[in-house]
């Protein structure tokens, strides 16, 4: 929620917000609970037309930043998506597009046009069942067999796995972390669709039963994917933090308004000091969350090599996942009974925040990461 946006960024926020308000109001979000995909393809193409999928792609590949700080640009979309608990495979598509733009072969970069236009969806298969969101935890094996590579293992919690035409897969070869890009209809690959407590966000598992691919499926060198994976994680976490902050911001805003309108004991409930003090704490957490989210995005944009980006991304995730969840949680309390019903919109945000807490690493995992980066 940067205070000093460029004019282009301001305009982008405005069009994004208007688009979401008219094309994805909360009533529409609720309706997509029944849909297997969670989002509509035509709607996604319209979102892509606004620029949602092109920000992390350089101009020569059909993208372009608004401000020279592509992650900060994308953060604007993420915040607005959070405010409207919007559907759409925003993080995976942008992460894959960004990595293909930097590390992909020319053939692989051909996919970018489809991602940018919204015709194609890609997902990033990274985490594995029951394991932490850490590159060190990747166990899916990649074996080099002549000119081919063979993948065996299982991925889980893959956003939009069942909706994607392509997967970027992070695997472990003898030489180290390795990534491949493959189509989801590749032989030996099974996508198990799944859901989450989020109303519209779908995840899936992916089983790799000795999936054989030509060497051209490699994104970068065998064993040389460490920097790409770290960057992907940083982008994903930065965007997710912005989304969580957007969600908390909206919940806080509507709850404070409600507390001023709602009377009990002859007074607006916002006049009760115990509530006022909790609201003050919430504003503190919220503003600090905004500051950290922006700081993390700026560090990822700067792509600093001194570990600043890695550290700030983890700092932001740990702070935001905890405090924004607490904000939403206490806002449920302030809303009273109606806040724990299906009819009230706040649970849509609780759901998103709870999923975001876990995905891309829990606050506990990111605190450990911070400790490690500080060399404690």
């Amino acid at each position: 929620m940067k205070l000093e946006l460029t004019a282009d960024q301001e305009f982008f926020r405005e069009t994004t917000r208007k688009f979401l308000e008219s094309e994805s109001p909360l009533t529409a979000v609720r309706q997509r609970w029944d849909s297997p995909d969670g989002f509509d393809r035509g709607w996604w193409r319209a979102a892509a037309d606004l620029g949602w999928t092109s920000l992390l792609v350089p101009e020569q590949l059909g993208g372009g930043t608004l401000s020279g700080s592509p992650v900060a640009d994308a953060v604007i979309v993420a915040e607005e998506m959070g405010r409207m608990v919007a559907p759409g495979p925003f993080v995976p598509v942008n992460v894959v597009a960004s990595t293909l733009a930097t590390w992909g072969s020319a053939d692989q970069q051909a996919l970018i046009a489809g991602l940018v236009s919204g015709d194609e969806v890609a997902a990033w298969a990274f985490a594995e069942p029951g394991r932490s969101w850490d590159a060190d935890a990747v166990r899916l094996t990649l074996t080099v067999d002549g000119g081919d590579v063979v993948l065996a293992g299982r991925k889980a919690y893959v956003e939009a796995a069942a909706q994607a035409g392509h997967l970027l897969v992070t695997a472990r070869a003898d030489a180290g972390l390795t990534q491949v890009l493959l189509a989801t209809d590749t032989a030996g690959l099974t996508v198990v669709p799944g859901r989450s407590i989020d109303i519209v966000r779908r995840y899936g598992s992916v089983v790799f039963d000795d999936v054989r691919l030509p060497g051209s499926a490699l994104v970068g060198e065998v064993g040389g994917a460490e920097a790409a994976v770290e960057r992907q994680l940083q982008i994903a976490v930065a965007l997710q933090c912005a989304e969580t902050v957007g969600a908390a911001d909206r919940v806080f805003e509507t709850t404070v308004e409600y507390a001023q309108d709602r009377y009990a004991f002859g007074r607006p409930i916002a006049s009760f000091q115990a509530l006022k003090h909790r609201i003050a704490d919430m504003l503190q957490w919220l503003e600090f969350s905004k500051a950290l989210s922006d700081a993390a995005a700026a560090a990822v944009d700067a792509d600093a090599t001194d570990g600043e980006a890695a550290r700030l991304v983890s700092v932001a995730k740990a702070y935001i996942a905890d405090h924004c969840l607490d904000i939403i949680d206490d806002c449920v309390q302030l809303n009273g009974g109606i806040g724990v019903t299906w009819e009230h919109d706040i649970h849509l945000y609780s759901r998103r925040a709870a999923v975001n807490r876990a995905v891309w690493g829990s606050p506990e995992e990111h605190k450990e990461r911070v400790a490690a980066l500080l060399e404690i």
Partner: protein, 416 residues
């Protein structure tokens, strides 16, 4: 039937324990396979003199004390047997029956208490209103005397289990010119096939019908003899009801305590055991950070158990006067959200993401979504904190600008 109760005259707690234990072992079903007819089981308890243990004998009770009741349910649990303890018994026998006992007319008590204790009738409460929230005394449901009957108009909300109960104790306004607390009356409203009454089950956060209901009253006619207490003295009755509710929720008084209830899957997650089981299942039981969190949950629930005993003893011995059950309710209300967050940490991605197309899964996530229920229902955490500070510690009351105004002049919700 009266024979069973006769044994109980002046029986001391330890003798009662021995008698109860033998009876429990001979008569009650296994806790894990209790069958599904709690009503029949409650009738068996009643007919054997073990229902309403602390209720007077003339109303079908055993004429003993709350200490005897506690012993009985401790023995049931120790023997791994089952006696009806969850909803609606917890409410009907643990909260409504004592309220009738405190305030009902002799006729009401004689007619209804034995049926309630035997499980033939189940009762619940109709207090909160859609626009009212915690301000129960601000009720705007209208009760009007019309010759030999009352006529009820308005709406109630957050009434747990109204769809499965026979009677609801309804707080309604009979005098609009009196200050808010002095124009209310309490009346028992039949909930089945009542003309003018529309009852809807509120959809819970998981998208399914929950146990909360909403009722709309459109010229519902209720007999005058259903009034509990005097006209315009309904607030005193409500206070009594809330006292019993807090105690029952906390596990003191006439209630059975949540620890006696049959755990559902979701309730299981709402305890340290559920979280620990999740950790073992996910293979993260060895994580030192998660171990701290699981230990914390265990510690809080253990503290709750002993605080329960302490407060029961304080009330029994008269050292604790006033609504001390609020302290237990406050703890549960504050813990539920913290515990749900611990569940999210232990559940990780598996707590919020699952394979397949079912819309409900991820037990930790679902528990998190509904965790605030206990912090709101039955008096919010905030209300409990007011009660604790004002009524247990005697701190000054919150200013209530509406307290002494005629109710018709009170400012209510505004829309800007």
């Amino acid at each position: 039937m009266t024979d069973a109760r006769d044994q109980a005259v002046d029986e001391d707690v330890e003798s009662f324990r021995i008698r109860a234990r033998a009876w429990i072992e001979a008569n009650l079903p296994d806790r894990d396979h209790p069958g599904d007819d709690d009503r029949a089981l409650q009738a068996l308890l009643f007919d054997s003199g073990f229902a309403g243990i602390a209720f007077p004998r003339e109303y079908g009770g055993a004429g003993l004390t709350l200490a005897h009741q506690k012993v009985f349910y401790d023995e049931v649990r120790a023997a791994h047997r089952w006696a009806p303890c969850g909803m609606p018994w917890q409410v009907s026998i643990g909260m409504m029956a004592p309220t009738i006992l405190d305030h009902g007319s002799e006729e009401l008590k004689r007619r209804h208490l034995p049926r309630m204790l035997r499980g033939e009738e189940t009762w619940m409460q109709l207090l909160s209103e859609p626009r009212g929230g915690s301000d129960l005394a601000g009720a705007t449901t209208r009760l009007t005397r019309d010759g030999d009957t009352y006529v009820l108009n308005g709406a109630k909300m957050w009434s747990s289990g109204a769809h499965t109960c026979d009677f609801g104790l309804c707080l309604a306004r009979t005098d609009w010119d009196a200050p808010k607390h002095r124009g209310l009356s309490m009346i028992a409203v039949p909930l089945h096939d009542t003309p003018g009454l529309v009852l809807e089950v509120i959809r819970a956060v998981d998208g399914n019908p929950g146990h909360f209901c909403q009722e709309f009253f459109d010229d519902v006619v209720v007999p005058v003899e259903n009034l509990v207490g005097e006209e315009n003295s309904g607030w005193a009755v409500a206070q009594s009801l809330l006292f019993h509710e807090r105690n029952a929720t906390g596990g003191a008084g006439y209630g059975y305590g949540l620890q006696n209830a049959r755990p559902t899957n979701r309730q299981a997650q709402r305890s340290a055991d559920g979280v620990i089981a999740t950790a073992k299942q996910r293979g993260v039981g060895g994580d030192p950070v998660l171990r701290q969190l699981m230990a914390e949950s265990y510690i809080e629930y253990t503290a709750s158990r002993f605080a329960n005993d302490r407060i029961a003893a304080g009330m029994r011995t008269g050292q604790f006067k006033g609504p001390w059950g609020s302290l237990l309710k406050l703890h549960l209300g504050a813990l539920s959200s913290r515990h749900a967050k611990i569940g999210l940490a232990v559940g990780g991605a598996d707590g919020v993401i699952w394979e397949g197309d079912a819309k409900v899964g991820g037990v930790a996530g679902e528990a998190w979504l509904s965790a605030r229920g206990i912090a709101i229902a039955g008096g919010t955490n905030e209300i409990q904190r007011n009660i604790v500070s004002e009524r247990l510690l005697g701190l000054p009351r919150e200013p209530s600008p509406d307290r002494d105004l005629p109710f018709s002049e009170v400012v209510r919700n505004q829309h800007r």
